[in-house]
Amino acid sequence: MTRRIEVNSTADALDDVMAFVDGSLKGMDASRKSVLQLELAVEEIFVNIANYAYHTEGGKVWISCDVDAEDRSVAITFMDTGPEFDPLAAPDPDVTLPADQRRIGGLGIFLVKTNVDNMSYKRIDGYNVLTIEKNLARYTQR
């Protein structure tokens, strides 16, 4: 089953996005931990788009959620029409630095990678198309 939502690219829309995702998982018997991991990935991706995709002008974000109830897996796709940006192209942050040299930039996308089973990016007809996939019967071991 596929559900879709269109929201403004502002951090304020995060509640609507989370409600949309959680609503899509109803009846899936997903493990609590796997749902928290998915929510983390969704928050980091959406906030990243809200902060950077359209700069200060704002714009729309289109999100679709494909659920396979039998397999207990989910695929969520985020689309925006901001400038081309492949979050997978950025290097992972150095997670071994001492505290005083730490920066938070890049940690969000890194957390997405470590909390989903697959993440892919494509630029299609002027859209950034970012898809995450996760099986919710188990949780991703880190």
């Binding site: 951090a11 995060l14 509640d15 931990k33 928290l36 991991q37 929510e39 983390l40 928050e43 980091e44 906030v47 942050p93 997670v95 071994t96 630095l97 001492p98 505290a99 005083d100 730490r102 938070i104 940690l107 969000g108 890194f110 957390l111 470590t114 880190r142």
Partner: protein, 98 residues
């Protein structure tokens, strides 16, 4: 998210419950900056915190830096899901976690 302050042996203990995320991280940041945190150290108790995102990590790191010369900063009682985020990001290696 709920924030509750107590004191233990001169240290300020801040209990967090719920979710430390993009929406709530500014509340914690404001709470810590508003004063009331002594110079004898700060303990952030995460017993009832279910979720932390990078926005929350940012405030935790800033708090750690702020408390370096003010008696130190301890994170304690992190649940599995929160601990995994601290581990994955290497925060577990640079913070004092109990």
């Amino acid at each position: 998210m709920e924030i509750k302050d107590t004191e233990e042996e001169g240290k300020t203990v801040v209990y967090l419950s719920g979710r430390l995320d993009t929406k709530t991280a500014p509340e914690l940041e404001a709470h810590i900056k508003a004063g009331g945190i002594g110079d004898n150290g700060l303990i952030l108790d995460l017993s009832d915190l279910e979720y932390v995102s990078s926005a929350g990590l940012r405030v935790i790191l800033a708090t750690h830096k702020m408390m370096v010369n003010r008696g130190g900063f301890i994170l304690r009682n992190a649940q599995d899901t929160v601990m995994e985020v601290l581990n994955a990001t290497g925060f577990a290696d640079v913070l004092n976690i109990q």
